[in-house]
Symmetry: D2
Subunit: 339 residues, 4 copies
């Protein structure tokens, strides 16, 4: 941490700043500029986490030197972490495609979807049983019945299932069915939920919050990892900006930035990012081109009748086409589609 003082800071104020920092176990190092005094804080910067340095008289600005996350950082693990799901190592050379409906609506539609996506190369099945909806009057999922349907379809198709958990009280229940637990964008800073999924060893798919910076996302991953669960997959799914042409603004550059900052795998959700069926393909190609380790795609037998997210869901032929046209981009990226 580097502390820059205000113009006209007094020696007493500088002494007081140093005492405060040193009382927390760091050393200080003062450098006198023409207009400002700069106080470098040397030692374990995490001890200054949450400390109100700006509240100390004479302090003008504070600059962090270290990243605030540790377990999630490249410094902690130089090699990419690989997380197994259904025979694929997410984060390895293979690119994983997770697909399925936004919501589990019935056994029939889920089975049809699973069979179709599997035949075209998807390796994991997504489907929501508990759905976060902006309006209390929208369909909120089948709940435990949805989980049971997911488990049945897994049994029939052999595909691992990815489903969302929204509530600390549901973590054990959802974990008893799911192969991978999804924490949604709206819950990315639901810290108690992060803590609970951190107590498991089940892989966690952590979606970026709508107003989360890259650092916020990595700190959310740190919550899960600091509880003992290292199996976190990050997901870029668009952020909220002034733009209105798309549902969210797909922050594509976050993919290579994350790949540098962390050893965790990174996938993309082009369905939510664009919010439009016709954008799923170009955003998928681009995500793979930028280095994503996988994709999560919404697919529905008949999007216009979907109980949620039909606007952005592909139908079966569209998904088949996507998978076919995706292959050359996967190859260009020096990867292979998981088979």
């Amino acid at each position: 941490m580097i502390i820059v003082t205000k113009r006209g800071v007094t020696q007493d104020e500088v002494d007081h700043i140093r005492e405060r920092v040193e009382s927390l176990g760091l050393r200080t190092h003062v450098s006198q500029g023409e207009h400002h005094t700069v106080i470098g804080c040397v030692g374990d910067e995490s001890r200054l986490e949450g400390v109100s340095l700006l509240a100390i008289p004479g302090v003008d600005t504070v600059h962090a030197v270290m990243r605030p996350y540790k377990l999630a950082s490249r410094d902690f693990a130089a090699d990419p972490t690989q997380i197994p799901l259904g025979g694929v190592q997410i984060g390895g050379p293979e690119v994983l495609v997770i697909a399925g409906p936004c919501s589990v609506e019935s056994r029939e539609m889920l089975l049809a979807t699973a069979n179709s996506i599997k035949s075209h190369g998807a390796k994991a099945l997504r489907g929501g049983a508990f759905k976060p909806r902006t309006s209390p009057y929208s369909f909120r999922g089948l709940g435990e019945e949805g989980l049971e349907i997911l488990a049945e379809i897994r049994a029939e198709t052999g595909m691992p299932i990815v489903t969302e958990v929204m509530d600390t009280r549901q973590v054990d229940l959802v974990a008893s069915y799911a192969d991978m637990l999804q924490v949604g964008a709206r819950n990315m800073q639901n810290y108690n939920l992060l803590t609970e999924v951190g107590r498991l060893r089940r892989p966690v798919l952590l979606k970026r919050g709508m107003s989360a910076t890259v650092e916020d996302l990595l700190l959310a991953a740190e919550y899960v990892m600091s509880q003992g669960n290292p199996n976190v997959v990050l997901c870029e799914r668009g952020i909220r900006t002034f733009g209105t042409a798309t549902r969210n603004t797909f922050d594509l550059a976050a993919i290579p930035v994350l790949k540098q900052e962390t050893h965790l795998p990174v996938i993309a959700d082009p369905s939510h990012a664009g919010g439009r069926r016709d954008l799923v393909a170009p955003l998928s190609y681009a995500a793979i081109a930028a280095g994503a380790d996988g994709l999560m795609i919404e697919v529905h037998p008949q999007p216009e009748t979907a109980t949620s997210d039909g606007d952005q869901s592909l139908d079966f032929p569209e998904f088949a086409t996507l998978m076919e046209t995706l292959r050359p981009f996967v190859a260009a990226a020096g990867r292979v589609l998981a088979e």
Copy 2:
């Protein structure tokens, strides 16, 4: 809902769009323009909530006519709702000031703070026992011990207490201590939490999420209200934008916009909005000038030692000065400070 079709839409597509809408119990009304066909949907628009109209072939854009919230809207209740807290009617002619530390750190500091703010005109005491923190390595609150301290200080000072609930599992516990339950910005779209606090009748202080539109905030209030709890107070606390000069961007205009759109009371949190001690006073004056029904202010005996949010906490003399200088603005707004 008004549906605008694509150029070159076919009659079959128009028929299909109409059938889909009519199958949901609305009537349709077609108007033929030069380039576009416009299909008005007449009836209970809420039946179209979550329906994927854009997924129907031939649809170009969809425009909502009705607000998606009902109980929270001005149409539902023309008169302002007043919500009682400690002898004050929030949303009435009196302006309420809630103050206190970000976190409850000890009995002593809370008692000292409560006595000081009470003597200067605050009518309710805030203090966090469960704290959402961006980093898992920061102090996360005293938990139930903090709630007990809050209850003790209420007993000694007579001030009602406002404290945050972060987890569906803690709702009953927190409600057994608190006079008003705060749902924080990061949990504004934690729908299960909203549902749980909606099952109580205890007043809820609902803080706007960092990337929530005014409509999102009112839909979050609708979640609480649709469960049967009409006692929701909204709180503007700043949104996330490109700006870096302040912690958040205080969306002052949201205050008068909300006062028009809803009958619920609206207060402001200038401490989080600006994130800087020196901005608390001007933002407080402005919030009252714009029509806020109250303020929530962070106060700490010694901000530089605070375990959280010291940068934006006032000390006792600063709070005393604020309350004094606030009065003329309250009077200019045609209100009185709650006594």
Copy 3:
């Protein structure tokens, strides 16, 4: 400037960074942390302006210590600058209200407007002769004819005129008519235009760009001032965010932040910030409460027929009411309305 190196930086890289900085005339000061080396750069930081420090091998992050603006900063002039306009000192104890139509539409409407606003306490007349419009098919102003009308109305009413200049080629022409030259939000980073108005001594009203930070705004002022024109008045008029309830998001906190960072006067434009007639009054009250030195308000004899910005223009009775209800807020702020 403080340079933080990457983990594993070599001694050669550190030496090379130091040489590069020292070759620009600064001294360096190295501090060795556990994981990072920190290189403080002591001396005239402006010599590093625009230098690509991040392009030097081994550099991880760079932190500025000094503000990048000088003439506009509080360090340059501790006392508030006062800028005269029509007998008022903008930035002094008096609060100035500038009012008038978005566009000059005719002599009659401008005279009627000027007489009405003058009788209610406005001290300067605004009106656009050259109009920046999002669409090339919208009315773009009367041009020089508009300037002539403005001059005539000044002669009749004695009110100084404020009008926009959009083009370097028009600076002399507009300056030959206007008492104050407005640089609009869309031109805040039109650096050649800033340079041209900087060559005059005529007061400049510099509106904040839609995506300009506070620092960007002050650097734009610095452009004008560095050419020799110290008479710059800053104007907060809303920024672009994800919000949709208002035309722009009024960044109220920018007013007190600017008052701290700079000695220049700061006014607010509640008409553009909210984009809605019904928000002009609460935003005006709030701006004054937060310390603004003045307001610029759009007024039109019959807003629904306005050629531009009618949605946000007050009619005469609305303006009269605003001025009356504004007075107590001006008094609460310890100011007086300019008379």
Copy 4:
């Protein structure tokens, strides 16, 4: 345009709204809902451009049916426009790479750069002679001397040159040297500049403004086209959001959205979008994957000594590697690199 009235609108108000719309030459069509009256406006919607419908008593919201741009829209030209530059048809099957330094610094550096990029497959040379800089104290370009150097290097290498014009007074000068005129992000809404470049037939490279929506960008193109110049190439270069990990947020989805909305070619500028050397390659791959017609890349012989944008400039070997690794993505997109 569709007008939705307020609850409780009177018949007189509805009549008045209709009269106002009909007086502008459109027909109206009233549909009575339970709570709202909806007034469809049929006819040439552009006559309502800039009309203040919200200022009419009784109007609640207004929804546009037509796009506000015409010449730039797909409706105007169903087939992609191809714009010639140096033997390549931008917008055709070939992908064009424009490269070169941010600023022209000297004849030597420009020649070296031109030779190097040409040998690796770039087909046009960029280089700034007039530079918009955030600070007035930064290097602002060599001016006309820079243009002369550009022309010399064109003569030596045969590469067409792309350079920025910032000022209406420089349009003829710059056009006398440049093969393609760049309008920078900060000038995207400098309407007089757009008008001036619209009077030429020289191709224009129009960069998206930092806070410009897709619609704003197309309206800026419309300014140029409506003056008679159809040769506009659009450039996505990142927008301003809350994100801090990159200089701007690369709005990748804008590329396929633009390709749908307009017949104009669309290229990407990964150098500015990411602001970091190490992001240029992944962003370039992704842009091509998403359908971009070309790329503009900053290249400098020695980035750390660049007078501007060194942080994001590739050196020669990096550019060579980029071009080589780009080819498979170009092929995957069904395109070829211009040769």
